[in-house]
Symmetry: D2
Subunit: 294 residues, 4 copies
């Protein structure tokens, strides 16, 4: 059911830190015309931690009403408590989106044993009326969802996949090995897109696809057509710009790249800071080097 390339969309803000819905509409129109299979709203790149509940509801409603209805919408709904996650996920589900994407609770790192995490995800999957995709993001949460835990959770009929942003290709391989073919194992970053496809991943959720969605989709096509050498060449070529907008400079750089490429990135919310002028220059040069900009 879930496969191909998704992008976790950015949330464009005005200079006064309010969501700019005109910008968002512009971007949704553009992404809707690409080969993307869908988008993720309220993901890490969407600054979900900086939005309050009302803003989140309004945002998802707007996306649902304004995005290409032939593509899928996933929504990040994890809260720290089971109770709040269930309640919020249900409200989001009622808006007609396709699935929720669930980070593990992570504040009490010492208490989040595999048993506790298992119960959390099972409780939520039992209660939420739409499919659940697990979201493993140890870089931000400090918690890893092991392949053993994911495989156990994958037996729940309502848990349909995992976005793994650990960068651990062995773990991704083990999840593919230990789950059914219809369980959607998604790479969480372009840095290991081809390696993940090579071991059986069915798709990916890529911040880079905010700015060059067609290139990300093309890598999947090349792989599916058995054009390994071309796929490798593209994979290696995407690494540098990918690292710049996801690792080295962060969300503000991703938004600046959107601006350069005809999208509307807008500002970020504090404490995130605007991209420095010297880093703008680097982003521009990397996009030119890549061939996305002339």
């Amino acid at each position: 059911m879930f496969k191909g390339i998704y992008t976790p969309i950015v949330t464009p803000f005005d200079a006064d830190e309010q969501i700019n819905y005109d910008y968002l509409k512009h971007n949704l129109d553009s992404w809707g015309k690409t080969d993307l299979d869908g988008i993720v709203v309220l993901g890490s790149n969407g600054e979900f931690v900086y939005l309050n509940k009302e803003e989140k509801m309004q945002l998802v409603k707007f996306v649902k009403e304004n995005f290409n209805p032939n593509k899928k919408i996933l929504v990040g709904t994890a809260c720290e408590s089971t109770k709040e996650t269930v309640e919020f996920s249900k409200e989001i589900a009622a808006l007609g989106v396709d699935a929720v994407l669930l980070l593990p609770p992570h504040y009490y790192k010492g208490g989040m044993t595999e048993e506790v995490l298992y119960k959390y995800f099972m409780d939520v999957a039992d209660a939420v009326p739409i499919p659940v995709m697990l979201y493993n993001m140890p870089g931000n949460t400090g918690i890893n969802l092991s392949s053993g835990l994911v495989a156990k959770l994958a037996k729940h009929p309502n848990i349909v996949g995992v976005k793994d942003t650990s960068g651990n290709i062995v773990q991704i391989s083990e999840i593919v090995r230990d789950t059914d073919e219809d369980f959607a194992v998604f790479a969480g970053n372009t840095g290991y897109l081809l390696p993940s496809l090579a071991v059986g991943a069915r798709g990916a959720t890529l911040a880079l696809a905010n700015i060059i969605p067609e290139e990300c989709c093309k890598l999947v096509s090349l792989f599916n057509e058995g054009k390994l050498a071309e796929a490798k060449e593209l994979q290696l070529r995407m690494l540098e710009i990918n690292f710049a907008v996801t690792g080295r400079f962060g969300i503000s750089a991703l938004k600046y790249a959107l601006d350069l490429l005809g999208y509307k990135g807008g500002e970020s919310r504090r404490p995130l800071v605007p991209i420095l002028e010297e880093n703008k220059k680097i982003i521009r040069e990397l996009l030119i080097k890549y061939g996305a900009l002339s």
Copy 2:
């Protein structure tokens, strides 16, 4: 201004995960009669991440109305965004509490450089009308507030102290060295209370003081009276029960210990799990061994 022993109070829940205000009132009455200098509401041991905004406001209001007015109240108010932290801190300040306790934003770990954190705390300290105490809790946040950063922030007239739960005694020493005498350097865990006092800490915020507040206060007295040998003996004696209720078994164990000692711990919210029967036995035995229970 801030010194001595504070305890980050637990939030007692019913079996249906609602806050039990009767239990809370009972505990506030008890703590109010001890030598504690104050309490922290909405701290890590208060399960603040499991409470929504309405619950937080109501809880703080209740504490303010029901706690010994001669003792201080600190409130944890950190949110991920600067905007929301400022707004929430102002609302809490309006309830008449003594200071806010501020964790750093920590979801985007890669983006939380010292510069970004500096600006965050300065922005909040500028905007909030009551004193700000920094809260360093790398075990839960994955972010450390270095001694250099704390010393820079300590120059802001509205930043009055730091609760350091890093366990890094060199860092605590450096903060004492690099700040004025009226800057409140607080140890964040009983495990290093005496060592912190020895290098000049002015107080501590101790989960253990939920259950044995007088013993924690006594260690400070012994130290102040120069009774080093007795202080050392008490420090070593407190380590085991402290580790059990803060590190080994977590908040549910702390709540169970409260139950045993005449307080009302109540339940925790999911995903936290109730304490196992075999661990209850251990807690009981440790309290007996310590001498708090017979």
Copy 3:
């Protein structure tokens, strides 16, 4: 020049902790008849840290005299000091082996900056008369050789490749991207063999190839023939036994698996401990499940 599958051979010991050369001869004869491109002597799986210099010299001499002369021999020669590494590498080179494999010095972790490591490897590569392959093994050394550092070192005419055991597939991809085509990028563990080939690695040094060398070589063939689905199936199938003999149970388990498969594993040196009886059972079952044993 260097490509394909190498195995870091184990060093079989007697019950009294002496090297058993009969066992070694038996194994060398067996490995020599396989499709392996070569072997590594004095690698991590060879317990090189438990051998003194005399033993190391004698061992390498024996291997050189007794191994199939049509296959290559790499030798681990890193010592902590530049001086001792150069001297020992020269002595080893004089025995007629094909290259040395160099771990970074790693005791003074804080002092091993990229500049210091760069100088170390350049100094050694300048002085040693045979090719140098870098060996990145952060799990044991606590030091990572970044893709940037490796790319810089790759410009030295005598530094011909890297064995990367970081498990970081992005790093391996970057090294491929940033080095010439004749620079031998080798995966350091079977866990990411296919992903590494997919991004352009030219070979691998695999502990697993001690016990099932032909299977490891077959994966390379399948990949080279474009049989991606079969390669993926084999990659996933090898994960479990690979983890058992390299991660979960260690060198003693690898030696026990050798015993089961007609090789002679022998004992390990203390502090390494013999494999437990219950773990022997697991190894046997995994080999049967894999199909290497009936």
Copy 4:
């Protein structure tokens, strides 16, 4: 038996990387006239990993013959294998030194479970005819000796103490709590000297005592005399220069400080690099600021 302040002496090298015994003699004479209780030879600050076995034997022999016979000599003798550690420790013991200081084996980090480490230390302590002091140095080894492990080992009659350089003051406290009074718990760095004394440590092994031995001894005296305020003042004052010569700039800076203070630091062995000119300036200024230099 072991108490007070020891210093892990540096090994002075010539420009051609040979040990300079004249320099060493000069230093031994100077340290021998201080209040130091003893010295450690072949410790981390002595660059033991850069010396071969012959050099180590000769060095220890020289120290034994040239150091004040009223002070104690500890020697670092750990090798990776049990066998080599035992053999080398016996040879060192035969030179008439007072104890050996034993790091855990640490190359195979995954295999060094508490059980394996326990057996290693017990095997060595059984075989070596002089007392054994454990040496916990996780920053360099990547392995921590837990308080539980140390307490178990402390029951061996020949294991007489531990130098703990973890910086974990809770762990140090637990070791004091769980061992007999004659077990020598030593702080491993000046950064936490006073905190360690406060919880019952009996001494310390301090790199800083290479350059300002009397000041380190004075802190112990102040503490023993109950002059807590003065002890605290001294502790805080030593932090900056201590960090400079142990953490920030490393062994070359420590040697440069020795040069400035009338000792003979000499050069380091590669890959360690000489101290930069700009860092020399910083060391000089810190020594002046401290009052050790005018």
